[in-house]
Symmetry: C2
Subunit: 414 residues, 2 copies
């Protein structure tokens, strides 16, 4: 007897998963450990940036009023009364037709309101002459022009990127409040699975989904607990899943979710009293992806087929983990691109095709079946083809989800 399952549209399935995300709270980490974490509180400017009017150039600080009427025929001379580098503050105050030699980043002296760049001057032993007038605050970086004190600069829920780190350093955050990271477990099921160090044997393959998901988590900056590989025996599997689910915020299993005679996860979910959010999604690959929740914790039942497993992780697990961390950007980056070759296969389900995106066109990354491994490694994106559509022609605009595009390009094309 084959169980009938009703496929859920992908967007609805994602939404249903996200509704059950449990927030994990915050913790403090050292600034140098905060890259890639999610901000658990906004960054507030603790000072103006810049904190004082300063010179953006190497040159001479002057009173702009003294430069009135300066021209090539009527050079105006200034008496240089001091010399300051960045970090120094002059104790002198400019009187009329006085200048202070000033370096990039140094605070403007009292009474100065403009900076003349070296290139705009002619220097003699004691004085410097200019040949054009300068306006008030010309060549001055004004206090607070970048950011004002007490301004909310970056919202809570933002990913901490290198620029965020620069801001945190600027404002003296030696510790940063970040969202706690979920404890994620991985359990690969399947009697056919060997470990990576094993020799192949008849009917057996090496477990590639487990290591792959570890890397998918690592790409998100997350670590995980491995629960080894389980053989397809109900009682034993139940105990392993029960223990793993109790020790983690999110347990990812691979395999065992289909309608096969040894696919015990549906029965295990039932024994655990888990709420099954869905067990069929209108997508290819990965239609058997099953998501359940027990005691507020996620149980992700991904397909045992590598391409389906990979896609299920990126579409469902990734946003769920990000939501647990209260991230503001939950979804994969997306764009549109021209299809680089014909794709004629029609399908009633939404298709996610491993693909290579080069910033302009996107092409399938090779062998396109849910059990394919090669195309995961060769691709850096997923082409999304809505369900029910017929085939696509080369040159058609298609939706693209970006995955690993940050690895870059082999061409300098600017």
């Amino acid at each position: 007897m084959v169980e009938k399952r009703t496929p859920l549209p992908v967007a609805e399935a994602v939404e249903r998963v996200l509704e059950h995300a449990m927030s994990l709270g915050a913790e403090k980490v050292e600034l140098e450990e905060s890259y890639g974490r999610i901000l658990a509180e906004p960054i507030i400017a603790s000072s103006d940036v810049p904190p004082f009017d300063r010179s953006p150039y190497d040159g001479f600080a002057i009173r702009s009023v003294d430069s009135t009427g300066a021209s090539g025929d009527n050079r105006v001379a200034f008496n240089v009364i001091d010399h300051i580098g960045a970090g120094e503050v002059s104790t002198k105050k400019l009187a009329p037709f006085e200048a202070i030699r000033i370096m990039t980043g140094a605070q403007l002296p009292e009474e100065a309101d403009a900076v003349v760049m070296f290139e705009q001057t002619v220097e003699s032993v004691e004085s410097v002459t200019i040949r054009k007038p300068f306006g008030a605050v010309e060549n001055v970086s004004l206090q607070g022009e970048d950011l004002k004190k007490n301004e909310v600069v970056i919202a809570s829920g933002s990913f901490i990127n290198p620029g965020t780190i620069a801001l945190l350093a600027t404002f003296g955050y030696s510790q940063v409040a970040v969202s706690k990271q979920p404890v994620v477990g991985i359990l690969s099921t399947g009697t056919e699975l060997l470990s990576v160090g094993d020799d192949l044997a008849p009917g057996k393959i090496r477990n590639s989904n487990g290591p792959m998901i570890v890397a998918q988590l690592k790409r998100m900056g997350l670590h995980c607990k491995m629960y080894g590989m389980s053989i397809d025996q109900l009682d034993e599997s139940y105990e392993v899943v029960k223990k793993a689910a109790a020790e983690t915020d999110c347990l990812i299993t691979t395999g065992g979710v289909s309608v096969g005679d040894f696919d015990f996860l549906p029965a295990i979910y039932e024994r655990l009293g888990a709420e099954v959010l869905f067990n069929k999604v209108a997508m290819r690959p990965g239609s058997v992806t099953t998501v359940a929740v027990a005691n507020g914790r996620y149980l992700f039942g991904l397909s045992g087929n590598p391409s389906a497993c990979f896609t299920g992780f990126e579409l469902f697990v990734r946003p769920a983990l990000l939501k647990m961390m209260s991230a503001s950007k939950l979804y994969l980056p997306h764009t549109t691109a021209r299809l680089g070759e014909d794709f004629t296969k029609a399908n009633p389900f939404t298709r996610f095709i491993r693909a290579l995106y080069n910033g302009d066109t996107v092409s399938p990354a090779g062998f396109n079946k849910s059990n394919a491994v090669s195309s995961i490694a060769r691709g850096n994106a997923l082409i999304v083809l809505p369900g029910g559509t017929r085939g696509y022609q080369s040159g058609d605009a298609v939706d693209v989800l970006l995955l690993g595009v940050e690895e870059g390009s082999d061409r300098w094309t600017l």
Copy 2:
């Protein structure tokens, strides 16, 4: 006296840097440590994938020839002689009109050449009937259909992504040959610099470039040595730079490369006997970016201005480090996008504007000066506007370099 410097076009400067990359050789790491590293040798298929003909569905393995002529009116019955799950191999061999119950992933039994899915059958106690004919290899995953034994699957120099890990696991690589990572040092110069934990003082700012570069390196999976902050004194700075350069493959300094009175790096490069590749680039921000080579090691002199420092790292340091690791993709990912707002400032130099790219349009990420900090944190891309061009209008197509776009989207828009 101001030194005259000749600005080099950006592409030429990048090329000049890359010419001096020293290769670092390879090392072996455990598979689970290999994510994000660069492959130092190609991945060769150690077996066919799949390694045997197998069933992609839960169903019944049959001899296709027995199904000839089957129809709704003429159901063909098969005697079920065995039952195998994935990882099991049947010891039975199909005789005419015999079937073996088979689960997804299991090896096809001898003589079987087609699989009938559960949904395509009617089962009784001992037999199963079908109502349509099946062709040879219908519903069969054929040995080697994804990859053939001895095939070069992934080239040396590729970034190891989660899919690469799946392939390596599939082929039994418990250790992986990867390129050694460069030893990178960071030295921030400037008498105005405070540490992140310090209170602000007149004329001083906190060092944000150092922590920012640490994070830029971390984004590349690289660690670094910190050489603290140096005050702008020639002799002392020389000793620090000399020591740091000797201990690293690549020393990144920030500040001290301009023409100011306390910008000692040009003098230090000379004392070190370093070859200065260039000290002026036709770009904004970051025109003072200086790159030198001493004893085959890089000395990157980045601007002390945060936006210029950030850009200099991504344009010059990043590809150099990747080339030292023999990576095949050296350059930032790029695309084109429509400008989301007018950008009217003209400039003879090529401009790199911190920007926010949403997969469709790209807009400047705020305050646009080389000393800006906020726009680095708020952006995930750089708009590239060629030198010499006039202003741009909203809607114009512009080149975009992607930086941190992988952080994703706040909208599910498919």
